[in-house]
């Protein structure tokens, strides 16, 4: 049996066991009433909810394990260190089996991109060099490069998008050239939902001698990601979008690259030896984790990873393909509603932006909230993309494992009600 076929069959049989309503029971917040209605949480691209297991892990850490790590010689310090490092091993396995030295804990995707810009970027980008991003980047993978390019007199270029919300690769061979030092691209757009062909882009960048950074904030929570297979040099994501606590992020970097990079936050834990004259840096990954890290949240993130693995990332991806298809179908049926992003559910994730010909996204969001539906309205930290889309804001419904077809039905009905309300 070829491995492709095997995984297909396995997925199929597992798919039957995917039951969002059972999953809902694990998330205490979903019992909350919002303005007298059942909470229908469709703002997962901003942050996901947390299962009871993760909340308990956090609670449990403070009740049984709390201590600083890597420095004490007492029992709790060792226990806390082990729990913290266990999560690192887990993350390393979760994204394709990399080495623990290649996993750096940060406060989130934003800090991960900033670390690379300030450390690697500061050393390796020079005058006339080119940094290539796309028109669909989140500010977290945009602002650090705008400033770095300014500071270094480098050129920041963008891969444009087509009207259907996918990358326009017509001129890619010009955009990636021998001057390109870094390709920094989002794996999945938080606005359009588009999943980008990053494996091909990474290969092309490498052929031109450039390094690659992938913003995986919207990808790792929703699909299997193997950074080794992708051959990414840097890969960033956040715990809070994948059932884990806020304040934890990951920077994966290839060991040989990280080893050459200078630390960018200086203090305790990141040095091996220090005198008033000289500092020797600690080994990877500690070189990049100065000070007391976010221990408890990292430990609880470990539990979030286990929770996701128990469902299966492949199953989650399939669930989201299904729910995207259904949501796109239901929303496009509504007069006046336009989906911003690809309509083909197989090349996109379940973050679905839409606009209403007549009603402003903020009015949409206020109305839906009054009916218990949480969505996001605004520019989604992607102002340049809004310009490209010729809009100022969109409404975005983003789905996750606990959302089901009933949520989509309720969303579609409420959008119709909303249109009657505002249009009279």
């Amino acid at each position: 049996m070829t491995s492709d076929l095997k995984s297909e069959i396995m997925t199929d049989s597992k798919k039957l066991s995917f039951d969002s309503s059972k999953i809902q029971d694990d998330f205490p917040i979903l019992e909350t009433k919002i303005n007298g209605h059942r909470l229908v949480y469709l703002d997962n691209a901003a942050s996901s909810q947390k299962p009871e297991a993760v909340i308990n892990a956090l609670d449990n850490f403070y009740k049984t394990t709390n201590s600083n790590i890597h420095r004490g010689l007492h029992t709790l310090a060792e226990k806390a260190t082990n729990a913290y490092e266990h999560c690192r091993e887990h993350v390393a396995k979760f994204i394709g089996g990399v080495s623990c030295e290649e996993i750096i804990f940060t406060s989130g995707t934003t800090e991960s991109t900033n670390l690379v810009a300030n450390s690697w970027g500061n050393e390796n980008i020079g005058e006339g060099d080119e940094i290539l991003i796309t028109e669909m980047e989140h500010h977290a993978n945009l602002v650090p490069w705008v400033l770095l390019a300014q500071k270094k007199n480098a050129l920041l270029r963008q891969i444009p998008i087509t009207t259907d919300g996918t990358l326009d690769l017509t001129d890619i061979n010009k955009l990636i050239n021998e001057k390109t030092k870094l390709l920094a691209v989002t794996h999945m757009s938080n606005v359009l939902g588009t999943i980008n062909p990053i494996k091909e882009l990474i290969e092309l960048a490498h052929k031109n001698g450039a390094l690659t950074l992938i913003d995986g904030a919207q990808a790792v929570p929703h699909m299997p990601v193997d950074v080794k297979d992708l051959n990414a040099d840097f890969y960033c994501f956040s715990s809070h979008k994948m059932l884990g606590p806020t304040g934890v992020g990951v920077l994966y970097g290839k060991k040989e690259i990280l080893e050459k990079m200078p630390p960018y936050i200086l203090g305790g834990e990141m040095i091996r030896e220090v005198s008033f004259e000289k500092v020797t840096f600690n080994d990877l990954p500690h070189k990049f984790e100065a000070g007391t890290p976010n221990i408890a949240d990292v430990v609880a993130f470990d539990t979030a990873l286990t929770y996701l693995e128990n469902i299966g990332m492949e199953n989650i991806r399939n669930h989201e393909i299904e729910i995207s298809k259904y949501a796109i179908e239901k929303l496009t049926e509504i007069e006046g509603i336009t989906i911003q992003g690809p309509l083909d559910e197989t090349i996109r994730g379940a973050a679905i932006s839409f606009t209403d010909r007549d009603v402003h996204p903020h009015d949409i969001s206020t109305f839906l909230d009054s009916r218990g539906i949480a969505i996001r309205a605004g520019h989604h930290c992607a102002q340049p993309l809004m310009k490209v889309l010729k809009t100022v804001a969109t409404a975005r419904a983003s789905f996750y494992i606990y959302n089901d077809r009933a949520d989509v039905d309720y969303l579609a009905e409420t959008v119709k009600e909303m249109r009657r309300y505002f249009r009279g």
Partner: protein, 159 residues
Amino acid sequence: MNSSLDEMYRDIILEHYRYPRGKKPIDKVDVSTAGKNPSCGDEIDVELQVENDIIKNIHVDCKGCAISVASASMLAELVKDKPLDEVIENAEIVRKMLKGEEENLPEEFGDIVTLKGVRKFPVRIKCALLAWLTLLEGIKNFQNGDGRRNQIVSTEEQE
């Protein structure tokens, strides 16, 4: 029904939103200002025809949410045929009402009192303020002899 929702989107507000006043372009433009709400993307153009320091005619064009459009429409209704100085005072009263510093509005303010409902939604106060701040900026420029200044007023800096 949801009471705070219906308190914000009062029937009068929805009526102004659906049929905004002051949409008709005016022939003679003495004051022209643009305003925007960067965080939500609302945009507004306000044009005035001024004679002897009285607003003879007003044209407002607001692209934004129901609150910003309704507020602009109510503004157009209120300020026509009023002296500039009085309009400045009126705008200040509206600002105070939206910020919760003023409860009762004079009779002549009519529908404007219904905008009070946005106070429960703090992020939307800016939307209700947009037209008024833009108008004030226009009058200020005009009084400084610079009525056609092409500088965009942003509600963010006023916060």
